[in-house]
Symmetry: C3
Subunit: 338 residues, 3 copies
């Protein structure tokens, strides 16, 4: 049921403190993460092969991890290097190591066949400390299947309703302006113009009316990389339905990742911000606060959805023309599962 | 397993505030209730057909209800009247409306085939604001199957034990004086005399000794309508086993409804009181407090019963001569289920 | 799945207060325990046969127990002696009585065929108030299957790791010094010498170096009776691998019992102490505190183990030479189950 051959976001890089063992669960697989002396990060199965004690209750000894139940010790590659009171160490005495990569500020883990893990397929994301940007990061835990959160991100028409007073406030036409959708590797790309937009608040400085070009890539399992670029009114008409030329007046950046934890729990990582020149730190604070409020609006609805689905699992949803994104992506996930 | 073709009490009428959406669940069916501008109350399925978001997280727009996930809008009859970004509204885009009736102070919902819903079959109950009576209302949530609560109400011999210091105090012979039981529509009627009763407390004014005529109708799914009428000593002997003639000295009124929510949860609605001339408001307050205490006595036992049943579901109960009511009613429920 | 023909520790004798009804669950069987006027203790099924109300919500009437739902009354042998409103009491109207014995300070219950209950097979234990000893008692509830706790007690090599800073502190070689293991009735006996031990703290008075003889019997379902005896250095060499002659310098006593409550919950009873001459009350207090801390160290690991086992029930553990005790005992339990 889980798709194992994929990269999943396990943590923010700043969560992994040296000398500490971090327990995480991804697609029902308990993991320990820890930093090694060479500056790397290691991900091992969180289960001693001996009696299945959690290694996350163990102890780091240099770059090795010792189970603190009966003392088995493992090298960072998962090989057992000590069994107390026993000379011979069988080959089977090891814990699985999972391929890991750091891209941007996320720690990515490959949950499947290590031979197929290619970090080059990880979608590029910004580092939180990139001086060209001002970004703020948060996360949220859901009691819902990850695909319900994906559905939410694949159909932004909900901004006009679920986020009427937060994210949808600035552009009420989300439900009416359908995006262009095109396939990308393991995902979909969405692009659309919002024209005739009247900036509010601190955005007023951009002009009385602007055109807004919104584009995002959505990649399995739930990586959402969005740019919202504000241009002078008329840019849309001049550009047609393709990407506009030139630097925008203002760029809003949204980078999010949905990580399935169990069939009914998921973790949601998000960063929001702009280019460094676009925003003051106190304004960024407000942008982040509004965004976080909006994500709690989603959470409330999606967790409610999950409960209704579980109450009557056989029911069929009503297709509408809003669902092109979710429908297409679920087909892609089904194809990956086969 | 649930009996759908029946009227269930969903709420007190005073719970349904104008402009608010009320979420309720009855026999595993999530519902929204709301008042309409014509003074009526509407009950719809609490599930948007589009993506199964809870409509109880939606918004009332006049008499219409809008789903606040992607904006589908429903008329009070459940018909979809708007799908944002889409002109055509398919016939299947509607939510189920459940027949509803207000009788007395209860909001009743028919959970089955609408064509069979006949409000005339709802048992008559008093309105809490009827000037001829003084009534006080409460409710209680149970972690137990509704039929266990029904069993309790169908065999009042438990008053002598479970309510020894509350409701049973006044008449300790509940277990010994068997009621006459007779079938009524979808239920049973119980009638009995308690003779030689010595009123206590503020009831002393009725005389040193009285006869008490207790009668109640018990109707599916768990409607308990009881009158306890106090008469001068000797009335029982003069009346035989039939209903006494003439106005009683004092009337105690108990009206209760058990509503199944899920296989292991139920809601219990109750009103207790007397005729207006029988009681002062402060005495009513005491009567209500004692009654509420007694209902918590039941709850503790019945929830304990449920746990023991679940621990060993195959066990058979020991029949006694106390069980005529519960046994007869369960047969009736089984017949209704077929 | 449960082994019924066995004695289980249900409580400390001091828990059973006269006039009170105590509810306990052992191997999924709800029980009531209460003291009778002859100074004995009775264990009955905690379930009225009539409607399955908990008898633990009932009332003691002398030595009889009355169900406070409909009033059935039971003699201490479980026979029904009253059904309100009914003359005839059927033979089937009784609750099961479980054989019970007090040995030391534990109340033991036989959960199976009463004809096979022989109190002589209960392993002897010390009473907490035995003047020759100073003992302190505690208990702990686990969210884990009892055999995982048994495994822990059957392989003390974990003392060097799980209890590195508590119980393992004094003798770090637990993992290296394998005990001699021999079969006893329904259990195993473990014996070993630790030589060259340097006493710490208040134990320093025993000398700069001592030999320590540790022996314990482990009996189904999880009775752990350990003596740790300190002897002058050289005693081990003189005694070989057999029990040493003569009185030790100091005796540490550990008596513990694991009682399965449900498939995922267990109760752990323990007493720790020494001979009366070995320790001051304030030192005993410290010994008890360290021991309790250590048992919480176990609990954290074992409950973690249980969760990992439940997440992937099919996985096979890696056998090591540490596992002789647990492996042997699980074979014994399997044989008992057949």
């Amino acid at each position: 049921m889980w798709i194992r051959n994929a990269w999943y976001v396990a943590a923010w890089t700043h969560e992994i403190e040296p000398g500490r063992i971090h327990a995480r669960t991804i697609i029902d697989q308990p993991l320990v993460l820890f930093a090694t002396s060479d500056g790397g990060i290691v991900a091992l199965e969180d289960r001693c092969p001996h009696r299945f004690a959690p290694l996350s209750l163990g102890r780091l000894e240099g770059d090795a991890l010792r189970c603190m139940y009966h003392g088995l010790k493992f090298a960072p590659d998962g090989t057992c290097i000590e069994i107390p009171g026993q000379k011979l160490i069988p080959r089977s005495a090891c814990v699985r190591r999972f391929p890991l990569a750091v891209v941007g500020s996320w720690v990515w883990i490959w949950m499947g066949d290590a031979a197929k893990a290619d970090p080059a397929t990880i979608p590029p994301t910004l580092a939180l400390d990139d001086p060209a940007y001002r970004l703020q990061a948060g996360q949220l835990d859901y009691d819902a299947h990850y695909l319900l959160i994906d559905d939410n991100l694949l159909d932004l028409s909900h901004l006009s309703f679920a986020h009427e007073k937060t994210l949808g406030m600035d552009m009420p036409q989300w439900a009416d302006m359908r995006p262009r959708m095109s396939p990308i590797d393991r995902g979909l790309r969405f692009e659309r113009w919002h024209t005739g937009h009247h900036p509010r608040g601190f955005m007023k400085k951009l002009g009385a009316e602007v055109d807004v070009w919104t584009t995002y890539d959505f990649v399995f399992p739930g990586i959402f990389l969005q740019r919202t670029a504000f241009f002078p009114a008329g840019t849309a008409a001049a550009s047609g339905s393709t990407a506009p030329q030139g630097e925008p007046l203002f760029w809003r950046i949204d980078e999010q990742a949905v990580t399935p934890v169990s069939p009914r729990t998921s973790r949601y990582f998000y960063a929001v911000g702009t280019r460094a020149q676009d925003i003051d730190p106190d304004k960024l604070e407000r942008l982040y606060a509004v965004t976080t409020t909006a994500f709690h609006e989603d959470k409330r609805i999606i967790e409610g959805q999950q409960k209704l689905i579980d109450l009557e699992p056989g029911r069929t949803m009503l297709p509408t023309s809003l669902d092109a994104g979710p429908t297409q992506f679920r087909k892609l996930v089904e194809a990956m599962a086969r």
